[in-house]
Subunit: 346 residues, 2 copies
């Protein structure tokens, strides 16, 4: 590619297979579509939208709704095209070439990918042998590298381990740089780091409508932080970043959040049941506070799943292949367990 | 802002007032909302959308539809959150700190703004005294600077002047860097540079659904170029960049483009009439091939417009204030002309 800058010549784009049929357990989505009642409300809203006009570049209505949800002020919130846009803004506004960025490994691959886009020196901190955060190792690396930016995915994608707020506070206290706590799966966990925003000016919490809110389709996420940090993100936020339809749908989702989040309990039940069943079958599987399980499956099991049109995600960690299974509906998990069980060696 | 990188400390975000009432002539939008028939079709589509699933990260259906529209191949197209996202991708993938970028002045401010985000050395090439492109000056500057990236906004926002394909070819032939021809307003012009894509591997044409397609609300734009350049943009394109609703609406718009683009003629008639009327009133106003007029209005006229809830855009050029008037409906332009005429000095 003639015009590509040389440092990007080996860069591979993030890619994910688009599945529309079968049992889709590869993208950590909710198995449940939007409730019909909300879709009907959305349709009614459409009659009042001026499609020919740009959306409100400040996303005023949505920010007010998010702020109210978390008892924060509008100035503590910025919304964008998924948490991804917030990540991009944070890199853009904070990172210069060569700046050090700490990311967990394995974790959400976009942290590292964006680090490369912005020429950062990305330092990966390995999880421990049980794929839990190794807080002491993080602390050690913060002291030796003094990074400008630290990412904590809580619970961590793809492994599912969480961090207590005491552990997060240790990192916040020690770090002179920004600490981004990505709570994309936070609604499945029994905790949030949000209360720490008022105490630490170096904390940014990211959240999304893509997982528990069942709205991956609208690509809407948001950042919560001090007013000053949000102002900083806004310096580089794209004008009119969030289209009018996603804006309206996200507001509607927050207005009806009890209804939409209603099945989190069901997903957590399935998570726990699937974990136990896999464990009982002798599968190497790890504790998770999210809506997915990190495990190691034999090639035989993986082939059998594909044959049965059950799609999970294979993820390479060092030289080994692991699997991430998104928790689907009861029926979907029963089918998965049946296939695994028929192909397990115990 | 404690964590903001020092080179951004004076950077101001792009901002635009969000208007919902009055005669809105400040954002170059179409005055006409989406036809009701298309909105109804869109509502029907919603029943088949899995909102809980991520959109197709490759925007396959939309790219196929765009490719078909312009008799190109799918691999010649990339779509994103407005042309803005395409601009961001181009900068990200091509520009390293200090690289030279040529932009017209005055022009769409995001070219320069993004240049700053990516640390580019942005060189502004002034339009001539009649606010037309000065091709000889461009050529001179290309020879002396050898820029990595050149922007041509055709027709130019905010001034309205266009470029012939012969003129664009002169620049393409001379430039060893990429040339981005932004045709955001191309549907109002009587030409396009698209035919040059097959001939020049350094040309990227940008188009959008925001102007003539009456869909500023869905934030969807696209890049058309050689397969290799599109592959390059895709290296840094955000995963799942375009939400499912904008995707579906954009496809629907292309399926019904005769109906949607039907009123371009009306807008061009109003452009020509408004130009003549303003000229007759002694207003300094310039030829335009787009859906707006670049002119100079007295403070008295500007105040009178605001008093009458007619909102246009004030734009500073060097030390002088100019105005950009978007062409609205016949009724809107009649009201504008009436106010200008009552407050003109001739």
């Amino acid at each position: 590619m003639k015009y590509l800058k040389t440092e990007f010549k080996d860069l591979k784009p993030y890619h994910s297979q688009h599945l529309t049929k079968g049992i889709i357990l590869n993208a950590n989505e909710s198995p449940y579509n939007l409730p019909k009642a909300i879709l009907e409300k959305f349709k009614d809203l459409l009659d009042n939208i001026d499609f020919n006009r740009y959306p409100d570049t400040d996303n005023t209505k949505l920010l007010a709704s998010i702020a109210k949800t978390y008892a924060l002020e509008v100035e503590n919130v910025c919304a964008g095209v998924g948490s991804d846009e917030m990540l991009d803004c944070i890199f853009k506004v904070v990172i210069s070439k060569g700046d050090k960025v700490l990311v967990p490994y394995p974790s959400f691959t976009m942290y590292k990918q964006m680090g490369i886009y912005y020429g950062a020196n990305v330092i990966e901190i390995e999880l421990d042998d049980e794929f839990r955060y190794d807080i002491n190792l993080f602390i050690e690396k913060i002291i030796s590298y003094n990074p400008k930016l630290i990412f904590l995915c809580v619970p961590n994608n793809p492994t599912g381990g969480s961090l207590s707020n005491d552990e997060i506070e240790k990192i916040l206290k020690l770090s002179i740089g920004l600490v981004v706590v990505d709570e994309a799966y936070g609604e499945f966990d029994d905790k949030t780091a949000l209360e720490l925003i008022k105490k630490y000016d170096n904390l940014i919490v990211l959240k999304t409508f893509s997982k528990a809110f069942r709205l991956a389709g609208i690509r809407t996420g948001y950042a919560l932080s001090s007013k000053e940090n949000i102002k900083m993100i806004n310096v580089v936020k794209m004008p009119y970043n969030l289209n009018v339809l996603s804006n309206e749908m996200a507001v509607l989702a927050l207005d009806n959040k009890e209804l939409i989040l209603d099945n989190i309990k069901e997903i957590k039940n399935e998570l726990s049941r699937t974990y136990k069943e896999l464990k009982a079958l002798g599968i190497e599987v790890y504790d998770s506070k999210a809506n997915f399980l990190w495990c190691k499956l034999s090639d035989k099991i993986k082939s059998a799943l594909i044959e049965n049109k059950i799609y999970i995600r294979d993820i390479k960690f060092k030289d080994e292949m692991y699997s991430r299974i998104t928790i689907g509906s009861k029926e979907e998990m029963e089918k998965l367990i049946k296939v695994v069980s028929s192909n397990a060696n115990c």
